[in-house]
């Protein structure tokens, strides 16, 4: 479970050189101080308010400004951060945290139990219009301030994902003074306790943060627990990938995220630059069958597609072997990931054809199957303008399914809200999610209560009482080993019933000049800048 997978540009030889250089630095006891890191983001953050943003790119910027109560280690264990220690009540419904007493926010506001209560109450307050953070905080009910540095958090139902969720940046602790002062403009004036202080955000140009000299509460996943070495970080917003990567290669900026596959290959052999790559965890990019529609409500139809889609070929062709293929509804590295699913199915067009024959679909003109006068068509919906070449996946699948007589209609639209979630007007739709806990499966696969079903439809729409039961057990089971077993069963069930086709695990990639050292990643794949030095 090597999640802090730091693939340096050149293989082992330079790797050892780097570590010996680091050792020398440590002997002298002084990593190089100062300097400015310029780091290009691929898209513009929507807000730097951790509670109101829903975008991964925003987290990359505001993780420098905000700390969390706890931190998740690469082995999925939870360690202290702003909270020193905690106890969980026997019924699993209340958590009592002892907080650090030496922490202050960037604006001088003291960090204490009130600040934690303020942050969490702010997330569930509908006026805040919190996005992803609400889902992470649930089943939060209330907080009680026991004394200045002790807080008791009450949940409505036990949740074994709760601690892990608390480690996420979207549940970072905000300065109550600043949040009150700026109101809905807090996202443009963020104040936290993090290693860097917010300086400025010029829209569509850059976000600047500077060293927090008072910082001394770094989490266990970084080496430098004190103030960062860098003076400042400038996050440049450069959407055009040729410009972004070119700027690093020509030395105009020091690092850039989201490297396209063709550049990954060339950067690995570039003497001046390095490539950092880490797989994100959560739900991989997955195609969901809409089981509310015929014939996809029949497992045989779904299996037929599963047998006909050559995922291996897709990943090889589009990502030149730089992305790994997904096999399960979960990504590797997350608690309970079922490795036994790997290499579990292979392409078999004969079986696929047999299954469709069984269903009564007969090949008609142009080789498209027909039943009761209607052609077998699959409405493939994609919501992104070719993010990570997702539209190209659709085109390849269109070709592959033609071989077994399925006609694929591709619909690229941003209007996922009404087409997919409101009207469920699709047969196959792809989605992915970064998450630290397998409980994320629940939102995608658990049969929801009828009133929720009325407004927002779950992806897939399949229903299986046994699976529901397992997902509920997984949420409350406290023993990690037992939880892992539960989620293994969940994954097998979803794959056995062919609810989905998992496609790829998204690697977060960073191109940087060789002068940059010490960029690390948290278990979710977000960059950490506490240890960064510039030669």
């Amino acid at each position: 479970m090597a999640l802090l997978l730091l693939l340096s540009g050149c293989a082992n030889s330079t790797g050892t050189k780097n570590s010996s250089a680091e050792k020398n630095e440590k002997v002298e006891g002084q990593p190089k101080q100062g300097g400015e890191l310029t780091y290009a983001l691929a898209t513009s953050p929507d807000s730097l308010d951790p509670h109101r943003s829903g975008l991964a790119v925003a987290v990359r910027a505001f993780r420098t400004i905000f700390d969390s109560l706890v931190v998740q280690e690469p082995d999925n264990s939870i360690k202290p951060w702003l909270a020193n220690e905690w106890t969980v009540s026997e019924d699993g419904k209340s958590y009592t945290f002892k907080l650090r007493e030496d922490v202050t926010f960037h604006d001088g506001t003291p960090f204490n139990a009130e600040a934690v209560k303020y942050s969490f109450d702010r997330i569930i307050e509908p006026k805040t219009q919190a996005r992803n953070s609400v889902a992470l905080l649930r089943p939060y009910e209330s907080s009680e301030v026991l004394d200045e540095f002790t807080i008791k958090i009450n949940l409505s139902t036990p949740s074994s994902a709760f601690l892990s969720n608390l480690s996420q940046a979207m549940l970072g602790i905000v300065s109550p003074t600043a949040a009150e002062k700026y109101g809905d403009q807090f996202g443009k004036n963020p104040v936290g306790t993090g290693p860097y202080k917010f300086v400025s955000w010029t829209e569509n140009a850059d976000i600047v943060v500077e060293k927090n000299n008072d910082y001394q509460w770094g989490p266990s996943i970084v080496e430098n627990k004190e103030a960062p070495y860098l003076d400042r970080i400038t996050f440049k917003i450069i959407p055009e990938e040729a410009t972004r990567i070119g700027s690093v290669q020509s030395g105009q900026i020091l690092a850039a995220e989201t490297v396209p596959p063709q550049n990954i290959v060339s950067l690995k052999n570039d003497p001046k630059n390095q490539l950092l790559q880490v797989n994100t965890i959560g739900l991989p990019y997955t195609l969901f069958f809409n089981q509310r529609k015929e014939p996809w409500n029949d497992v045989r139809a779904r299996k037929a597609v599963q047998f006909a889609v050559d995922v291996e070929a897709i990943v090889k062709t589009l990502y030149l072997n730089t992305y790994s293929r997904a096999w399960s509804p979960l990504t590797p590295g997350i608690l309970g990931y079922d490795k036994s699913l790997e290499n579990s199915n292979s392409v078999d067009l004969d079986k696929a054809n047999e299954l469709l024959d069984e269903l009564g679909y007969v090949k008609g003109k142009e080789g498209i199957r027909v039943k009761d006068g209607r052609q077998l068509t699959l409405n493939y919906v994609d919501g992104t303008p070719n993010r990570e070449k997702r539209n190209d996946i659709a085109v390849i699948i269109q070709q592959q399914l033609k071989k077994i007589g399925i006609k694929v209609e591709i619909n690229i639209t941003k209007d996922i809200a009404s087409i997919v979630q409101q009207n469920a007007d699709y047969d196959l739709y792809g989605n992915s999610q970064v998450n630290s806990d397998p409980n994320a499966l629940r939102a995608f696969y658990h049969t929801t209560t009828p009133q929720e079903e009325a407004t927002i439809k779950r992806l897939g729409g399949g229903s299986n009482p046994e699976l529901d039961q397992l997902l509920e057990e997984g949420t409350v089971e406290l023993d990690p080993a037992k939880r892992a077993d539960i989620y293994k069963k969940v994954q097998q069930k979803i794959i056995d019933e062919a609810w989905i086709i998992p496609i790829y695990v998204f690697p977060y990639t960073v191109a940087a000049t060789k002068t940059v050292n010490g960029i690390k990643f948290d278990p979710l794949g977000y960059p950490l800048f506490n240890d960064v030095t510039i030669k």
Binding site: G187, G246, S247, Q252, S418, I456
Partner: protein
């Protein structure tokens, strides 16, 4: 008097155009497919009450005419609403980003007029000579190269390999060079063709022959008399061209990671941020109307006949 009337007429047409575009902009919300409220909320967490509250907050539950009157009065007071993404007021956002777009548009316009008129005139005077072919080649390139492609090409050559100019950003003159070149060439291509054709026409007119016969130097004949007449149709093109340049900034600002209203509208379209889309489109419409008004006025200054005829 007649001239004043003419200007009054022009001003009122301009106002009607602005009002028309305001109505069109308002209708964007009805023409776009999908529900803006749903796209603002995270479907995984939104409850029906949240959807309803937001609808109320945005006034989308009001009857159509109430919404329009409200929008109209707000716009008159300079209030274009708030961004749905980060609650920022729209007008200050546009005003903050407009200078960068204006600088890019002006720089590209100057480049395209400079290159366009110079090569247009030269290629007409030296028709079928070497310079004519070069000018026509530049014109062809300008018209046929898409800006995102020429932009990336310029970045590759002048920024990454030669390292002469920065590849991105919008502070300082240096960052203006590559994007305005890439955008300016498109306009230059059109202007070269236009100026060349109208110069050729004018050169063969009777009055030029008369001027030459009177013994005026070739230089005075060409630049004082012929060019002045040839510029009238070219100015129309330049006026239209400024509109095209503003549209071109959407692509160019993204390629060169510049600030500007083109970038804002591109982002807003992706995020379905309707108030911002409406604001930028309306704002651009006003700018476009003003530019056209100024172009019309400039005819009168360059060509006295326009002033007198009515």
């Amino acid at each position: 008097m007649a001239f004043a009337n003419k200007i009054l007429l022009k001003i009122s047409t301009a106002l009607v155009s602005i009002l028309g575009s305001l109505i069109l902009v308002f209708f964007i919300i009805y023409l776009l497919p999908g529900d803006p409220v749903l796209s603002m909320l995270d479907p995984a967490t939104a409850t029906p009450e949240m959807v309803e509250n937001l609808r109320k907050e945005l006034g989308l539950n009001q009857p159509f005419y109430v919404q329009f009157t409200e929008y109209f009065t707000n716009v008159l007071h300079g209030d274009f609403g708030q961004s749905l993404v980060n609650s920022e007021p729209v007008l200050p956002k546009i005003l903050e980003h407009f200078p960068a777009t204006l600088a890019l548009t002006i720089a590209s316009a100057v480049l395209s007029v400079g290159i366009g008129v110079t090569f247009g005139v030269l290629s007409a005077i030296y028709r079928n000579k070497g310079i004519d072919f070069i000018a026509r080649l530049i014109g062809l390139f300008g018209i046929s190269m898409p800006t995102f492609w020429s932009g990336i090409l310029l970045i590759l050559i002048f920024s990454i390999y030669l390292n002469w100019f920065p590849a991105m950003g919008s502070d300082g003159w240096a960052t203006l060079v590559l994007p305005s070149l890439s955008l300016g060439f498109v306009g230059a291509g059109l202007i070269i063709r236009m100026v060349r054709n109208s110069m050729l026409e004018v050169i063969n007119e009777q009055f030029i022959i008369t001027l030459r016969a009177k013994g005026l130097s070739e230089r005075v004949v060409m630049y004082r008399h012929a060019l002045r007449n040839a510029l009238i149709p070219a100015i129309t093109i330049i006026g239209l061209n400024i509109g095209e340049l503003m549209a071109g900034t959407v692509v160019i600002e993204t390629v060169f990671s510049r600030q500007g209203i083109g970038r804002i509208v591109a982002d807003a379209i992706m995020a379905k941020d309707l108030p911002v889309i409406q604001g930028v489109v309306f704002f651009s419409a006003i700018v476009y109307v003003i530019v056209n008004f100024l172009v019309d006025l400039s005819y009168a200054i360059i060509d006295p006949r326009v002033r007198r005829s009515h």
